[in-house]
């Protein structure tokens, strides 16, 4: 379809120019059917990268990278006791930015932590040198909406990037549980404990039909590796923060073990917007 578009456009243009050149006076009428197509830009295809970006829900600011340090409790002004997770914000600096012209998205790469230079490869050292920041342990890209949202290289981001009471999403890698059976991994109910059950107390049972379809359908829940995957927890409330001391307290729990890096961003479901709706 798209391969025909330029041809059609060319013909339309020529038809219009021919028709206009034949016009002797302004009173002369010509049928609209003589102009089969109007010269226009070919529309952006649905699957193109730019149209996907237009349809995506995006934020106007980048997030932060924290380190999960543990849990504590928090007494609020109404006398409630709330569970809270402590996230440390250390050495957060902008290391790189991407633009639509070059990479197809607007995004800000943020680095966190510190690594000794002798443990970093030379290409990465050059990457950090370009941004004039120290070698970072953990890098993450945060996609933003507009070119105005991009930050300068080397900008330091502190915990007061967020506000007390706002909602954030926290993304991290869950604890790996190793090889796990179906009861633990998919909450199957297992087999009988008694009534003559042998070797099938925790088994998955049937995995499908017989001759038709004569195979196990894709996506069948089976035993396998559990955990160690990226997980997002949406809409956690920020209870407390301190930019000087470098920490954020969020309500509730966060995936992953202590000491693991977590991404913290504004709650996408609350603050995120679509570029298509913005342009209208």
């Amino acid at each position: 379809m798209s391969s025909f578009a330029p041809l059609i456009c060319k013909r339309a243009q020529s038809t219009v120019t021919n028709a206009l050149s034949e016009i002797k006076s302004s009173k002369q009428l010509f049928s609209p059917s003589t102009i089969p197509f109007i010269n226009s830009q070919p529309s952006v295809t649905f699957t193109s990268r730019e149209s996907k970006r237009q349809r995506r829900r995006l934020l106007e600011r980048p997030g932060l990278i924290g380190v999960k340090r543990g849990m504590t409790c928090y007494f609020d002004n109404q006398g409630r006791r709330l569970p809270a997770t402590i996230l440390e914000i250390i050495q957060n600096e902008v290391t790189f930015t991407r633009t639509v012209e070059k990479e197809g998205i607007y995004s800000i790469q943020i680095g966190s932590g510190y690594q000794k230079p002798q443990n970093v490869t030379k290409p990465m050292l050059g990457h950090f040198r370009n941004a004039k920041v120290s070698p970072k342990e953990f890098l993450k890209d945060f996609q933003v909406m507009k070119p105005e949202n991009l930050l300068e290289l080397g900008t330091e981001l502190k915990a007061d990037h967020f506000q007390i009471g706002q909602l954030v999403d926290v993304i991290s890698v869950t604890k790996g549980k190793g090889m796990a059976g179906v009861m633990k991994r998919w909450n199957f109910s297992g087999g009988n404990a008694t009534h003559g059950a042998s070797l099938s107390h925790r088994s998955a049972g049937s995995t499908g039909q017989n001759t038709t379809p004569a195979r196990v359908l894709p996506g069948k829940k089976m035993a396998g590796r559990l955990g160690n995957e990226r997980n997002t927890i949406f809409n956690l409330e920020v209870l407390d923060l301190n930019a000087e001391k470098g920490y954020i307290l969020v309500k509730g729990c966060v995936s992953g073990s202590k000491g693991s890096f977590v991404e913290i961003r504004d709650a996408l479901k609350k603050y995120g917007k679509h570029l298509i709706n913005e342009e209208k």
Partner: protein, 141 residues
């Protein structure tokens, strides 16, 4: 490879390099237990600490005090709790109370046993002949 790569210095360390969990715990104690009485009352180094088998009254700012016999003391930072058991109109009632809650003014030890039992968790006294009596039923508290 001969040219030396420029490496920038990291940002200055926060809290003079102090552990964050330790810092937050101290800050929380400073906020919720200014004079250190609550910390002292459950500290293991204090011989006068609250132990299982003591009879304790928890005095609140905005509600009636709660009295009972201590079944256990859970020490976990700001979330430390004591489990109090009492009998009210013949019925056993247990309350697990976070002692650092800002509405709690103080913890009073009313009575100590002559000899402590050789356990730190007294769950086994429930519904046995060692069970607590009706503490504070005469309108003392």
């Amino acid at each position: 490879m001969g040219e030396k790569m420029i490496v920038y210095e990291p940002l200055p360390k926060l809290r003079n390099g102090k552990n964050l969990m330790q810092y937050i715990q101290e800050a929380q104690y400073e906020k919720f237990d200014k004079n250190g009485n609550k910390r002292k009352s459950i500290s293991l180094s204090n011989p006068e600490r609250i132990r299982a088998d003591d009879i304790v009254t928890v005095v609140y700012k905005n509600q009636k005090p709660v009295t009972g016999q201590v079944l256990m003391v859970k020490r976990s930072g700001l979330n430390s709790t004591i489990l109090l058991r009492n009998k009210i109109t013949g019925l056993g009632v247990e309350m697990n109370i976070p002692i650092y809650h800002p509405n709690i003014i103080r913890l009073d030890v009313i009575r100590r046993p002559i000899k402590y039992k050789p356990r730190n968790r007294h769950y086994y006294i429930r519904n046995s002949r060692l069970d607590v009596g009706e503490i504070g039923a005469n309108g003392k508290n």
